[in-house]
Assembly symmetry: C2
Amino acid sequence: MKTKTKKYVLTDDQMPTQWYNMVADMPHKPLPPLHPGTKKPVTKEELCSIFAEELMDQELSQERFIDIPEEVQNLYKIWRSTPLVRAYELEKALGTPAKIYFKNESTSPAGSHKPNTAIPQAYYNYKQGIKNMTTETGGGQWGSALSFACKFFGINLKVFMVKVSYNQKPYRKLMMNTWGAEVIPSPSSLTDAGRTVLAHDPDCSGSLGIAISEAVEMAVKNPGTTKYCLGSVLNHVLLHQTIIGEEALRQMEMAGDMPDVVIGCFGGGSNFAGIGFPFIRQNLCEGKNIRVIAVEPQSCPKLTRGTFQYDFGDTVGLTPLIPMYTLGHNFQPSDIHAGGLRYHGAGAIVSQLLKDGLIEARSIPQLETFQAGLLFAKTEGIIPAPESTHAIAMAIREAQQAKEEGKSKTILFNLSGHGLVDLYAYEQYFAGNLKNYEVSDETIGKSVKELERIL
Amino acid sequence: MKTKTKKYVLTDDQMPTQWYNMVADMPHKPLPPLHPGTKKPVTKEELCSIFAEELMDQELSQERFIDIPEEVQNLYKIWRSTPLVRAYELEKALGTPAKIYFKNESTSPAGSHKPNTAIPQAYYNYKQGIKNMTTETGGGQWGSALSFACKFFGINLKVFMVKVSYNQKPYRKLMMNTWGAEVIPSPSSLTDAGRTVLAHDPDCSGSLGIAISEAVEMAVKNPGTTKYCLGSVLNHVLLHQTIIGEEALRQMEMAGDMPDVVIGCFGGGSNFAGIGFPFIRQNLCEGKNIRVIAVEPQSCPKLTRGTFQYDFGDTVGLTPLIPMYTLGHNFQPSDIHAGGLRYHGAGAIVSQLLKDGLIEARSIPQLETFQAGLLFAKTEGIIPAPESTHAIAMAIREAQQAKEEGKSKTILFNLSGHGLVDLYAYEQYFAGNLKNYEVSDETIGKSVKELERIL
């Protein structure tokens, strides 16, 4: 009896030992980040006031490949490689001639792709002797991943968690507590940034931008003892996530296949870059013609409807100015359940790639994403995170188009995480309490207009 | 740079294609199950009134190996093989000369080992044309696994969930709902069995035994349209779980190692048998000398303090009488958080193996298990299910003994599931609300004495 191969895994000794730095191969390099005060390109020294030094070397690096430290490789092996899975059952349900593969990042102990960068970030801070770290979390996936990572290195972690997620996801908070982190709902009264927001709107449900402001402020005010770190957007974060795509490349080769389309959901860019960058390299350096698609929620459409401009990474204006597609740092996204996608801007590399037409972007309404997530749970058995359902919905659109056109194609998407700790979202969906959120041109225009004052 | 191999995985084409039937190699075969009414050995026809026919062929089979159907193999590949992981970080924290390996069953979409039998059970029922199934669940792991499995085959599932778990674990219920199952807190007023219990004790927090009674009754009262199925105890369930140990055997060979001790936590026996039986075969057929240890909670000590006797699998007396180590079917275990281990008896095969000295049994108090679970989360990064912490605690005891004796040994335990959907238990532990539950000899004696009336 011969059964079909469904899943491709790499053994520990087949694992990639280097991350891929997209910057090396970009035809137009991203514009430099600017100091929020001087508006001059920010120096490594300035960045190192809040970030660990080796991470900033990576942030500014032009090297094509960067070695993964042995300690990080060993911790990656707790769960990596993640499986590349052929979604036969989903294909069958859709009646599509397309082949659909997904990279299953949900098998990490934190349930998402976020530990891929959490571990090296904790490691480089530890190596520098840092004992305290701060960060923010939206959907809770980054906060749990960093809690998991800090535990290995004995680092104390404070996580500012967007209040709407804090209330919706008590189990996310408990995960972080179990790994030893302290979790603070944001906006909080612990920081100037939080107090300012609360003074204007005591019932503010928070946003990633506000939470970043709080976490950065706490690091800035405790120089030398406390460093900040970020789970998305920045170059070094995206660098670490390329382990996903580097594995996927090798696994697609094992499958004797190569994607025509690569899809990732898009919040700040980390899982999208992780799956996508190594395939963009195939286009730029190997003459391939792979479409790479970033999928954002309809309610937070920076890539599809934002403007390309320098903007802050946070709400208050403490971070460097980053050249990005943005809705404006004061844009307040709706309380959709894909908390990790409620971010106003995109990172510098991804923004430049979009500007240069090297990637595509699409937005999808919330209800379509939950429908896609449930079809996936029914066919492939895995309950996806609300964020990941955006990638699934796009993969389904592509598969349906293939069916309409009667053409085969190979689709690869990243399943960035499972939804077992986000089941409240599904409960709300079943209860009919979820809806789509259309953003008006006026709202975006107003929010973007405020950016004119920055530069 | 050469890093250590931490993890051993099998590719899809290296996967075992047969389950192992322990009965074939047992020096003393288990005594036959008896009909609850006639007290005569139960016939296949009688069993088939509530169970699917091919499952009952397996229940009574004496064949050493049984082929895994192609459809089941294909669904196994969604997540199997599960990784065999060397717990270097736990070893380091313990300062032990022992080598510790664990089989990581938490990577399944339902988060535990239970889908290993849920999928074939749903498959054989589907093959027989069954459209409705009933079952019970303790900790929620079996109920979620069967919901996951039934979804693939379009089977409607009703799950009777032990009330204490239903209240403690809302996310477990939501998982089942998301995969399309109906979840009923047990004891319920839907069945005679439930109503009888509620009449005596309206606040009864339930038990696996009561929930089994309810699920069986619903199948018995709807003959032809509804079948019952069980997540542990019975021979065919244990058979399906041997995929764990069959993989582990091959993976230990890949690691160039062989365990001296194999450990599984013990509720009804399914994950213990899964990891253990193939290694017992090594003892019986290959002249190996591997200790195989079942670990139960101090509060539900059927293996270490129960009596070997015919007893019902449920509380009301609807199931066949099974020859088992039991605390008596009316034994009401404390509300410990390892809900899956709150069961009064052990399966026939495991009980006979224990009687014949072919396995060992130990019991561990609740607080020690949570301490072990947290050490594991800190060192190996995975938050274990409260059930699995019992196996971890035993592995730690063995590793500490190795340290005291200055001897190396190789320990293998089964990590039966993750605790991400059971985080309430950890919250209670952190809050200091958990305690140990010592069971008095008098309580056990009284409960066991009631068995005299059965035969």
